[in-house]
Symmetry: C2
Subunit: 119 residues, 2 copies
């Protein structure tokens, strides 16, 4: 049970769109991700997904609208909802979701990341 | 599905030690809390609990040590672990835990707060 400093953790990796697990709470994981440019359209059929912006600005595109999230803002993406995150400049986000969730959902992509990359 | 701005939400209440629910993800709640001075010793026997410091500095006292958390830091308090949060100056925190968790755990106190106070 060690405290976690987001800034120190972000210094430990540079790869974009590659979630790093920093904490587990029950069967949920807290993951840090650096993002820039476009991700892929995808959805998670079995779980909601929380995005918290820790640095920068991100956009989450949905089929009918785009939500811009600034530092200090969060969004719950409902299960099954197709979405595509993007960021014009590199941004740092915190994801909260159950263990085992694949970042690209049901879509296979070069951006599909390995799970359980703890730092 | 609306985005949530932490600062705007914190403007909507002043009461200390009184968690306000800002989001639900599956059966978990995200809660904002303002804290100052001492809470009560308690534990949550059925769940871990996540503390994220959004503003200020808090301390979480355990039976064998005290963890100081600054802005941009988080801690997972394991289920069953007795703890007592305190803050010398008012601080703002984000809690993540399953729906229905009582803030004082098994302890009845004047600080026991009502659940499901959405803002």
């Amino acid at each position: 049970m060690e405290k976690i400093n987001f800034a120190s953790k972000f210094e430990q990796f540079d790869e974009l769109w590659s979630p790093r697990v920093i904490a587990q709470m029950n069967n949920y994981e807290f993951k840090l991700v650096k993002i820039k440019d476009e991700f892929v359209w995808h959805s998670h059929d079995h779980t909601d997904e929380v995005f918290v912006v820790l640095k920068g600005i991100i956009n989450i595109e949905f089929e009918d609208r785009t939500v811009e999230l600034n530092q200090g803002e969060m969004l719950v993406v409902p299960r099954g909802e197709k979405h595509k995150p993007f960021a014009r400049e590199e941004a740092q986000i915190l994801l909260v979701e159950p263990m085992g969730v694949v970042n690209t959902g049901q879509v296979e992509s070069h951006l599909t990341a390995k799970n359980s990359q703890w730092i």
